[in-house]
């Protein structure tokens, strides 16, 4: 089978995409990628997490290079809801991106307002609920780790977002991941975003004190964590759409997540090294599938759980 014959199209709830490669939240507002790829050519563009008010983010250092990964603690720097709606979303819409708006908040009331405003904005095709609040100093930082609390957040968001706009719940928390996924789906999540990100720390060589005492580790270092997490959730809930994210650098990395049960994947840290990474992964995935004689992405999803792929 030639790569051109491979059908890359995929669906995550009502989010229909020409290919299963999305950006991961926190990789700019879209314009940064424009010199290197067409955002419309990606499956979807996921925005940095938008908060109700502008957020200046964390002080330094925010980023530490670790073996095969990046430890980060940016503190969700973003222009706030108004800044996003007037400054970033119109550009994405004009460029034809399928925009998934990521939202983050510290209370149910804020999640509701963000969901209503963002979910009703033209150009937003899906809403991703950032439940990873571990890096934040808010008193409710455990909101995203507790199935009951996470379920409540998703219920509030789902109620405010119009039908036809899927709500994706981005989960944190091993080892209770499957329970968490079950809880958010029960409360209306149309899909779960399952991440390999894990907490991490680094010590500074000159001061011998932590440079980042509590950050998030991403990149190739956590790819196997992501494959495992996707595998577990898919095994427990085979009908729930999963988006896998963690350490995807190549087409094969993406296919691995699909075979484990993801319907789509997100590319994040790889874009810090190669800003064109997401577009490259689309083409590499096409070649991988063609070489393996797998005619479509749909056939690959979860195939590793059964008898492999029927070719």
């Amino acid at each position: 089978m030639t790569p051109d014959e491979v059908d890359l199209s995929c669906e995550v709830g009502d989010l229909r995409m020409p290919n299963p490669v999305m950006t991961a939240s926190g990789c700019g507002g879209g314009r940064e990628l424009a010199p290197f790829l067409e955002v419309a050519d990606l499956g979807a563009f996921v925005t940095g997490s938008v908060t109700l008010d502008p957020c200046a983010g964390a002080g330094g250092p925010r980023l530490v290079e670790t073996p095969s990964g990046v430890l980060h603690r940016t503190g969700l720097q973003n222009p706030g809801l108004q800044g996003f709606l007037t400054g970033e979303l119109p550009w994405l819409a004009q460029r034809g991106a399928r925009t998934v708006a990521s939202i983050a908040a510290g209370s149910l009331g804020e999640y509701a307002e963000l969901a209503r405003r963002v979910g009703n904005s033209p150009g937003v095709r899906a809403v991703e609920v950032n439940l990873d609040l571990a890096g934040r100093e808010a008193p409710d930082r455990r909101l995203g780790e507790d199935p009951y609390q996470a379920g409540k957040v998703v219920a509030v968001v789902r109620r405010e977002v119009p039908r036809g706009i899927p709500v994706l719940a981005k989960l944190v928390g091993q080892p209770g991941l499957v329970d968490l996924a079950g809880a958010v789906v029960k409360e209306g999540a149309d899909a779960v975003v399952v991440s390999g990100q894990v907490p991490g720390a680094a010590i500074d060589r000159s001061t011998l004190a932590p440079s980042v005492s509590s950050g998030t580790l991403s990149g190739p270092a956590v790819h196997a964590v992501a494959v495992h997490a996707v595998w577990q959730v898919h095994a427990a809930m085979p009908d729930v759409p999963i988006v896998g994210v963690g350490g995807v650098r190549t087409g094969w990395d993406a296919l691995e997540l699909l075979l484990a049960g993801a319907r789509a994947v997100q590319v994040g840290t790889a874009a810090l090294h190669d800003p064109g990474a997401a577009a490259r992964v689309v083409e590499e995935l096409r070649v991988e599938l063609g070489a393996l004689g797998i005619e479509s992405v749909a056939r690959a999803v979860g195939a590793a759980h059964g008898q492999g792929v029927s070719r």
Partner: protein, 290 residues
């Protein structure tokens, strides 16, 4: 490669030469597309460790020189200080080795519309981008004065080349091994008074840039300061290189050195607050990181 688009390109380049230059190394790379888009002050971000590398972030270097065409295609040159593992790896490459180049990145030096007198202040190898700047300034009829500073003789860069690049050259070392004994803060005010410079261009570490911006302000001159080219993505994605700067509206924002910089107006950067988020920054809510 993404030829035809505006802005930076990522190219699979080739190391052409690695030469010692005092305590530094001078790297020349074939990188088609970078030279054509270059303006003084912009930088390149180089991948380190080769295709099987576990290093996820790039290393930033201000561009020292470009040649748009030649026997090898467009080339780009940088001056690096080995020490950090990734930079040491680059310095150890042999001619002909592949090198992954992303650039030119960032906001370049703003050039004066009138033929004015300019003082160019460079600390160590960070002086490198001042040489192509000096060329552009001279083309515009500007008078160029240069101050090259460093801890000692070995840490100076470009002292010979400066004689061709500038009308007057001042060298200052902290240990007094060559030139005047002192640092930028000590010698720049006198240089500005003597030359009547209208614009100060500076490239170096934060303390030196702060001193240059302060001296310019006291003298009544504009300042354009190039902060160190950040390591990270270089493209504005990772938000790892932010620093607090005051905008036209008087509000402080966390801005990216790679995208809004690396060249900033010296009077806009809150030099004393670098590494922090000042309480009056737009979007800084005490206690809650939102």
């Amino acid at each position: 490669m993404t030829a035809g688009r505006p802005g930076p390109v990522r190219v699979d380049g080739e190391m052409l030469a690695v030469k010692r230059a005092g305590g530094y190394v001078h790297l020349t790379m074939v990188a088609p597309g970078v030279a054509e888009r270059f303006r003084p002050g912009s930088f390149v971000a180089l991948a380190v460790g080769g295709p099987l590398s576990d290093r996820c972030l790039r290393r930033g270097f201000p561009i020292y020189r470009v040649r748009a065409s030649g026997a090898y295609g467009g080339t780009v040159e940088v001056v690096a200080r080995p020490g950090e593992a990734g930079t040491t790896w680059l310095a150890g490459l042999s001619a002909g080795s592949p090198v992954d180049v992303l650039g030119p990145l960032g906001r370049p030096f703003a050039l004066p519309k009138e033929p004015v007198a300019c003082a160019l202040v460079g600390e160590g190898q960070a002086a490198a981008p001042l040489f192509p700047l000096a060329e552009r300034l001279r083309e515009r009829g500007c008078v160029v004065h240069m101050l090259l500073a460093g801890a000692d003789e070995r840490s100076l860069f470009g002292t010979l080349e400066a004689r061709r690049a500038a009308r007057t050259v001042l060298v200052a070392t902290e240990d007094g091994s060559v030139g005047i004994r002192g640092c930028v803060a000590d010698v720049l005010p006198d240089l500005l008074a003597r030359t009547g410079a209208d614009v100060v261009y500076a490239s170096g570490t934060f303390p030196v840039l702060h001193a240059a911006a302060r001296a310019a302000e006291q003298h009544g001159a504009w300042s354009q300061t190039a902060v160190p080219a950040p390591d990270g993505c270089g493209t504005g994605l990772c938000q790892g290189c932010v620093l607090p700067a005051v905008g036209e509206d008087g509000l402080t924002r966390m801005v990216r050195a790679c995208t809004e910089g690396p060249v900033f107006r010296g009077d806009r950067v809150r030099w004393d607050d670098i590494g922090t988020v000042p309480a009056d920054t737009w979007g800084a809510t005490p206690g809650v990181a939102r």
